[in-house]
């Protein structure tokens, strides 16, 4: 198994004729992902990397039987691209694009929740099920097939964690980058549900960061519903209040969203918390040893 995507997933790229879309379509193909086509309005009938390009997602679904999409269209058109994918019946939508206006996501979020579509992102590195399917921009070679489910709001921090795990001989079932925007399609809790239900996932590693309350909510969920070992890391322990650290949400305001509060909530839920960023892989190892 695995979650969200696997070797049978048939993937298109929306924005495939753009420079970035093209580059990463190639990267996914090289990794072994079943890329089956792409969509760029007005470019239908052409090909990219030998893949057929369509004007609409509906056509792409009809012609290729795809069930997932990777979105690289510019920020101004991302909401529309997600809605088009949902309308065409795709069940897994992975939006990589950075810089999407926050309010565009309010309606998109409503639609994906109503239709039961799994939207990951926007502003995320994507999803990878090692040795089966990569949809996104992560370097494939650092991943190894195995029992650990990995999730994070941040791209390169996920790579770092995966690298540590792989070096410890701990492979991954599926790794998901949630995205750093205020509203993203998939939350930590959504993924905890999926990992808990997935037979291939034996333990879960979560990388959170300061700001907001997503980590506290996830901890409460784990306490009640997750029986698998969980380890976590919170980035930004040393960040001063009132300063936004890159991601829209990474700001401590009014004394809320501090690392101390988050770590306390995680530990209270029986989650093994990493002592520092170099300790993420080892923390997961300790969590597995300890069990729940």
């Amino acid at each position: 198994m695995s979650i969200l995507i696997n070797k049978d997933t048939r993937v298109i790229c929306q924005g495939i004729t753009g420079k970035v879309g093209m580059f990463h379509t190639k990267g996914c193909l090289e990794y072994g992902t079943q890329m089956v086509g792409g969509v760029t309005p007005g470019k239908g009938g052409t090909t990219v990397e030998g893949l057929p390009v369509f004007d609409t997602v509906a056509e792409a679904v009809e012609q290729t039987g795809c069930d997932a999409t990777m979105i690289f269209v510019p920020p101004a058109f991302t909401a529309d691209a997600i809605l088009e994918a949902v309308d065409a019946g795709l069940k897994t939508v992975i939006a990589i694009t950075e810089g999407v206006p926050a309010l565009d996501m309010v309606y998109v979020y409503e639609v994906v929740k109503r239709t039961g579509v799994n939207l990951v992102g926007p502003n995320c590195p994507g999803v990878i099920t090692p040795e089966e399917c990569k949809i996104g921009i992560m370097p494939g070679y650092i991943h190894k097939k195995g029992p650990v489910g990995v999730m994070s709001r941040s791209g390169t921090l996920t790579y770092e964690a995966v690298w540590q795990l792989s070096n410890l001989g701990l492979g991954q079932s599926t790794c998901v980058g949630l995205g750093g925007d205020p509203i993203v399609g998939t939350s930590f809790i959504d993924l905890f549900k999926m990992y808990q239900a997935d037979d291939d996932t034996e333990a879960i590693l979560m990388m959170g960061e300061i700001g907001g309350t997503a980590e506290e909510e996830a901890a409460a969920f784990v306490k009640q519903h997750v029986t698998k070992p969980v380890a976590a890391f919170i980035a930004g322990r040393t960040a001063p209040p009132g300063k936004r650290m890159g991601h829209a949400g990474a700001i401590i305001s009014g004394g809320k969203g501090t690392a101390t509060e988050k770590v306390a909530a995680l530990e209270d839920a029986g989650i093994e918390v990493a002592n520092g960023p170099a300790d993420m892989g080892a923390a997961l190892q300790r969590a597995m040893k300890r069990g729940r």
């Binding site: 926050a102 791209g155 390169t156 750093g180 930004g236 960040a239 890159g246 960023p277």
Partner: protein
Amino acid sequence: MKVHEYQAKQILRDAGVAVPEGIVAKTPADAAAAFDKLGGSIAVVKAQIHAGGRGKGTLKEHPDQRGVQLVRSREEAEQVAARLIGNTLVTIQTGPEGKVVNQVLVEAGCNIARELYLGIVLDRSAAKPVVMASSEGGVEIEKVAEETPELIFKEHFTPDRGLDDFQVRKLCSKLNLAGASVSSAMRFMKGLCRVYSELDCSMAEINPLVVTADGELMALDAKISFDDNAIFRHPQLKELRDRTEEDPYELRAGDAGLSYVKLEGNIGCLVNGAGLAMSTMDLIKLHGGEPANFLDVGGGANVQQVTEAFRILLDDKNVKAVLVNIFGGIMRCTTIANALLEAYKSVGFNVPLVVRLEGTEVEQGRKIIADSDVDIITAEGLTDAAKKVVAAATGATA
């Protein structure tokens, strides 16, 4: 993007949201003329800076002068404006360095019966904007949230619809607004939602929202910030940006497509990705060092960006060593290695540089650095990198 109070109020006025009459003045003479033009027996002179707490803040140059003052004559308006303009206001939000006041808002006084709070932000958990209202106006809302959360009332809305009538009525009932104030609240709250949605705000805060003696609601103060990702839809807003209010280094970084926040330590950091950048700061601290900054070069940094990043880092005279931590995904290690060498040479490095590379094309990237003639300390893994840069910074201090 933040704007000044007077700009926020103009936006509200244009949208039919009640604000006091006011005139912005850049000189004391203008302030006196504004007092006359407003025509009342009292007015309020308010320093315009991008920070809250102005009413309690004081001037560095005149410790007895506050950032907001009631005046009763044109002479007094002129005098207060003369003290404020060109001087530095220190408030709870500016930090000890304060901010220079370049202009004041001269506003007609109004007859205040009650002070409330009204704000709109995006509620991440609910994935919707939320109106927050409180009977505790005029104080910091974070403080209310901490001490008396039961006095904050919330209603969510969708951008295309705004608040429904019943939601306004619910808020009015909680805030003890009745009679004429309810119809005034309908106009005010719905208008504020419309501004928030139509202009892609990230925050719109009215504190205090006053109820006048006639029962009308009016924005005595207004703070609006806009979603940077949506500014492309509202080109008119770009004109409202006041670059003099922004940190010069953060401004330079922003212009180069970098995300930079200055901190107090002595170890400069250059990292790709916000999460890894924060983690790198944590790691430095864990090993006994102090980060001098947060700097995210983003996913596809080029030579120009890395060069500018180094220049910004080295302009900070506290910096005694620099750590570059790159986990290549989209960004190839070879690209960053070449960029590092070029930037290193053109910037003229005068402190130790520790580099940790991992990810796409890492072997070739490391070789490029090893084969070069520049003096770079290479590190393997996070811990090694942190230890080396902390040692280098301490050595340089000693």
